[in-house]
Amino acid sequence: METSDISNAIASAIASPTVVRAVGSGTWLHGGPVENDATATVVKPRGGVIEYTPGDLVISVHAGTTLEELSATCAVSGQMLAIAPYGSPRSTIGAVVATATAAPLAYDDLAIRDLVLGLTVVTGTGDIVRVGGKVVKNVAGFDLVRLNTGAFGTLGVITEVNLRLHAKPSMDHVVTGTLDGSPWDWVPRLIANRAPLPMLVRLAPDEPAQLFARCTGNGARASALRGIMQSYGVRNAFTVGPSDTSSAHEQVPMIAALRHVPDHALVLRIRTELSGGDAMLEHVRKLLPDATLLYNPSRGSVRVVTDPGHEDDVLVEQIETQFGRTPVHYSLVAEQGAPPRHDTSHVHAPIKRAFDPHGVLNRRRATFTPKPYVR
């Protein structure tokens, strides 16, 4: 659908009254974080490239453009979107921005928040709002780009996205190997000696911990980074990825496997202080022995992928209880599963009301439980 059609659909929904459900490829709907009302009006932003000037390393696309389409377009000019987010390559860029989903081994540890330059958003009033721009630095006006990034479509339907691209480095390898011992043996070492490269540890039930590190740059640097990575005590290390200049990190099968999210899985992101990483892993492992954990030592975050046998609300509560007993500070994002327990203050609920006064957008996600957040 064109932006103007979506605006009209929202206006009709307000008048009906009913609600609007924004969908991309439909790959993130299983856990139900978006509005599942059967009577909802479904709006689906169209896909396709609007404008691409490789010399500027900037691309403008319709929000329904899939990641694989985007990747293929940029690859022709030796460029890339510097993250390859979790989930299906058929996911749309609009959904990636709306969920601010993380990415394993993102180039230079970038997040989608760092790469979105501008957005077109249809708010809950049907207004078409264009924010940000097409240049890499922009502080003109209030930053509604960041506000909509990760808002799960509760403030508006994203219909167009301007993205910052990166030129592909001459070498782009992933080195992987196993780590011995428990997290409290190697987590402090990883944090204290972290090399300037993106890293990820995969902890699956009954398997040794596996460290992945993305080594990029020229040959000498990639080789040095490999050496640093092996100094962490990694065993059986080997390199995966293309060795020529046509690197395509996101197409390496092992990385694609890391990005895969099983159907109907429950996905949570938990983040803590860097120094709390070992305690966090210990607690999550104890609570969810069957889950696969993906730990990013540079961000202090762990992605929890578990089966949907858990009642998502109950699980979130259990995690909160578990962490509540420890001195570990943490944040929790239910990416695919339970709606968040917004620690909504006098600010978050009014923001929602300001852009969606009729409550037509992604109602389930925006379940606010007023709770004072003031000192």
Partner: protein, 471 residues
């Protein structure tokens, strides 16, 4: 009313820290933007976070507007307080905590940028954003403007390095925006707050991310016979996949100003443009990066590429760039430092347009800018007391800003909209987009008492008009 407020504020911060007489206030009638002056009604300087809260609450109770101010180095008139209360934050200078394990520091807003980097250097860490005014500008001001700097090409702007702010809203309530340990499921209020130019409240405590100091740094100076050739080199370098720590361009007018000043850096005065390029990181592979960048420059038409061989050489090359604005002080008593961004591929033709505009208005433009980001700083030295010169400068700047918008760019990359750029906001954004900005401001400051009249033109706010003009 004024006397009552004076008494209230004096009781909070002590009489010494409230300025009310014209001779005292005149020191705060301008920031770094020449040609604009506005006298505050009162100026108050709290010395603790609790005093800030008490002051803000007192102003809320009295229904009085205020303008937060750090070092006053802003270049867009954002810290001008026209007949309202100026809230000076430059007494809040404590670095409250440095946590090298978690790589964060918690600071008060009045901490000077360079002081923070000096304080964390013994831990092998740095606060990466480095505005050219870093020896005097404050972290609070950097947050308000989402400041940049030469090294932001690789490391990112202020937004990428601030993880949490404790904010006093204009009604005196607190919010904690962001989190010291990362993302949350809430709206990105921190992303919204950084760069909001003091319109949403005052940050009293700021948690910043620290990054390791690089093991090794190589700095180069390439000189070019034309600006076009230098711009071509920029595109070539970026296309290799190397992300330089900095990629700065200076044109001939800037080079000559620097070389004629006490900041002379040894730049070739006959070059049409020079590129100052730096790569850093782990030592391995940097020599190869230097070789590739040299090749990019030479293939683009550079006459020479000089690599700093000693730390002293490196510091000297950077001094010329960082002090370029100061060097222009020799040319004329006032200097407009403008700030626009254009797509990198449009740099050559926009620079040509700027030259044409300058010639037509009979003003001298010195260009010094962050070429890797397309972030231009066309600077015009002039005499702000000369009405004719001021009018010509103003007209030339307006055309330059509109030319940058027409090229697909924007009106500010790191200095903010403030007062100076307000007229261009309607050329840049639609009425609906501006209205959305008003909507979000209303959430934080429904009475528009925090930095009134800045960033978004008031007449753009449809809700504001619907509710009647509450100014």
């Amino acid at each position: 009313m004024r006397d009552a407020l004076l008494a209230t504020l004096s009781a909070i911060v002590g009489p010494r820290w409230v300025k009310s007489r014209a001779p005292e206030l005149v020191a705060y009638d301008a920031d770094g933007l020449p040609g604009y002056r506005a006298l505050p009604n009162l100026a108050v300087f709290p010395g603790t976070q609790s005093e800030v809260v008490a002051v803000v609450k007192a102003l809320a109770a009295a229904g009085v507007s205020f303008v937060p101010r750090g070092a006053g180095t802003g270049l867009s008139g954002g810290a001008l307080a026209n007949d309202v209360v100026l809230l000076g934050l430059n007494r809040l200078t404590q670095i409250l905590r440095v946590d090298p394990v978690n790589r964060i520091a918690v600071v008060e807003p009045g901490v000077v940028n360079a002081k923070l980097s000096r304080a964390v250097a013994p831990y092998g860490l740095q606060y990466a954003p480095d505005p050219s005014s870093q020896s005097v500008c404050t972290i609070g001001g950097n947050v308000a403007e989402n400041a940049g700097g030469p090294h932001c090409l690789k490391y990112g702007v202020t937004l990428n390095h601030v993880v949490e702010c404790l904010v006093v809203l204009p009604d005196g309530r607190f919010i904690r925006a962001g989190s010291a340990f990362g993302e949350s499921d809430e709206y990105d209020v921190l992303g919204l707050f950084v760069g909001s130019e003091g319109c949403f409240g005052v940050a009293t405590e700021i948690t910043v991310r620290l990054v390791p100091l690089p093991d090794s740094v190589h700095t180069m100076l390439a000189d070019f016979p034309s600006v076009n050739a230098a711009a071509r080199a920029v595109s070539r370098i970026v296309a290799t996949g190397i992300v330089p720590a900095a990629l700065e361009m200076m044109d001939n007018a800037t080079i000559r100003a620097v070389e004629a000043s006490i900041y002379a850096a040894g730049y070739p005065t006959d070059a049409a443009a020079v590129l100052l390029c730096e790569v850093d990181g782990i030592a391995d592979g940097l020599d190869e990066d230097v070789a590739i960048i040299r090749e990019c420059c030479m293939e683009s038409g550079a006459r020479n590429v000089l690599v700093a061989s000693t730390e002293a050489d490196r510091v000297r090359l950077w001094q010329g760039r960082k002090k370029a604005f100061g060097a222009m002080g020799r040319i004329a008593p006032s200097l407009v430092v403008q700030d626009a961004v254009v797509p990198r591929t449009r740099l050559p033709d926009v620079l040509e347009t700027i030259h044409e505009i300058a010639t037509r208005y009979g003003v001298q433009v010195c260009n010094v800018f962050h070429a890797g980001d397309g972030n231009l700083h066309p600077n015009i030295p002039y005499d702000a007391n000369d009405a004719d010169a001021s009018a010509r400068v103003h007209a030339a700047m307006s055309e330059i800003m509109l030319a940058c918008i027409a090229a697909g760019g924007t009106i500010t990359g790191e200095h903010g909209v403030g007062l100076d750029k307000l007229p261009y906001m309607e050329s840049l954004f639609t009425a609906e987009s501006l209205s959305a900005m008003c909507t979000i401001r209303d959430v934080f400051d429904p009475d528009r008492r925090a930095n009134p009249g800045k960033v978004v033109p008031v007449h753009s706010c449809k809700e504001w008009h619907r509710g009647g003009n509450r100014a």
